[in-house]
Symmetry: C2
Subunit: 311 residues, 2 copies
């Protein structure tokens, strides 16, 4: 992986993604005591950065592979991203989802033309089902966070942010499965290597924090967090990148996530997911550390159920 | 009033306002069957277009008048706009508010440095109190919608929209007190006279619709609408402008307002007030009329109580 790989990736996916805006807010700058630059992937197609990785993964397949379709297991943004990217490229998308997934998420996948394959609600069941589709249909499996093409695609959000604001002191992203943090780390390292990279994680699912401490991939025993995009854990493709390039992980409490989310909604008038608010919560928790710095924050997505808000 | 007046107004207030972005959404275009251009005054300072008129009204005062302060009666966005504009100009702002106004609105005014003067919750009481302050302090009274300087200030939102998109077929704004619609009509008439101007109004408070029919200013007997910024009625300064320049008023039901608001929140990921959604609701209600047209919509504001949402 070098600079050229990332530039090629960006050029490849450009027709399929939005170049999302970078927003600033004097009010939030005052509250945080630093200069914040929000890369708004909540305005990305299907509402999250996942579109970047999904598009790149499908675009990286051969014509023959594309004809056989793609399969993933996800009940979140990656399911929608794969469905939409596949639809745009005329590729069949099989989405393995637990039977009990919320109807609103199933509908979103259907809207984008994905075919839902239901399974029991265990990690084993969904992997078995994905494998079955892979074998039966010859479909290519796409992993939501632990696959090079997905990570490179995700890297393009930070590339665009740094292109507009090359003097950032630090970029903070939420960390769940690790795909966004690893991609961001690669982009920063290639293009603005003196910029720091920090991950932000709910205390309730602090597997990435513990993984960096122990040096091996840790998991979560429970996942009681409002940040529903961050319940997963790192993988063997992204953990080495994170271990090498990320400065640290900041952990935040649930109440801090909710407060950060409310501040963004009320002051910036934009809709962000709880997962997205985790990075801003990390800044508010460590004001001294970021004082007067230029801080980039990747707003990962804006898909929320308006009928179920934490305010 | 001519082109030059509006250009001077815009130049005068520029240092005190944001040039807000114009957003588009392919998804909403598909749903509506036309090309929509949303002028996002929800991203304006203090969260609404009212900042434009308030800033211009205070900037139009003499030094001596500014020293004596300004007074208005409002429990909504204009109260915040006057407070903030006055604060930025070092002018004292007296805001007459009913005793029973929501604490969240009182807090917003205080945040921006306005001094709240409480009164009973009747139109008579608030006017009497505003007059008292005017006499006692020598403060200049600023009207939320029925004052030339306020109307000219409001016109600058449409000016910016037309500067970016001069080929719009129509611009739609919500209509409450009439200040935004009248200002928009002046701007359109001066700069792109072949563009239509339409007002959008809740059926529950359709005073502007009835006023255009009867030729005189009508009021509302009840104000049972979620669009809390649109409960007021037209005035003698803005009604003649509206009567002369506005093509028509489209009325929408409460449920249509809620659905339009939810679509904007969910698809565009931006926070808009119910009042702002009224204009988009008018488009959705009259798809045939707007088919394939380029339609400008002024999103008037984004100040909502997150604890009290209609979803």
């Amino acid at each position: 992986m070098n600079k050229q790989t990332l530039i090629q990736t960006h050029n490849r996916i450009k027709p399929f993604i939005h170049k999302t805006p970078v927003l600033t807010s004097k009010l939030l700058d005052e509250i945080a005591g630093c200069n914040l630059f929000f890369k708004c992937e909540n305005f990305q197609k299907m509402g999250a950065f996942k579109m970047r990785g999904a598009a790149n993964a499908i675009l990286s397949l051969s014509d023959e592979e594309r004809q056989r379709g793609v399969v993933t297991h996800s009940s979140g943004n990656f399911a929608q991203a794969v469905s939409l990217a596949a639809q745009k490229l005329g590729v069949k998308a099989y989405i393995v989802m637990p039977k009990n997934a919320p109807q609103v998420k199933k509908n979103a996948v259907k809207t984008y033309g994905g075919e839902i394959i239901e399974c029991e609600s265990t990690p084993q069941a969904r992997e078995a089902m994905a494998n079955k589709i892979k074998e039966e249909k010859g479909a290519s499996f796409l992993h939501p966070s632990n696959q090079d093409e997905v990570i490179y695609g995700n890297a393009t959000a930070a590339m665009e942010l740094l292109e507009e604001h090359p003097n950032l002191d630090v970029i903070i992203t939420p960390v769940g499965g690790g795909g966004l943090l690893a991609g961001t780390a690669l982009a920063v390292n290639q293009f603005v290597p003196n910029c720091k990279i920090i991950g932000a994680e709910p205390m309730e699912v602090d597997d990435a924090y513990r993984s960096l401490k122990s040096g091996k991939i840790e998991k979560n025993e429970s996942t009681n967090t409002i940040a529903d995009g961050l319940k997963t854990y790192l993988g063997d493709r992204n953990f080495p990148i994170i271990k090498t390039l990320v400065d640290k992980i900041i952990r935040v409490e649930e109440q801090e996530i909710k407060e950060a989310m409310q501040l963004i909604w009320e002051r910036m008038k934009i809709i962000v997911e709880p997962s997205s608010a985790v990075a801003f919560a990390a800044v508010l928790k460590n004001k001294e550390e970021f004082k007067n710095k230029s801080v980039g924050i990747i707003i990962s997505g804006g898909n929320v159920d308006l009928k179920n808000l934490p305010f």
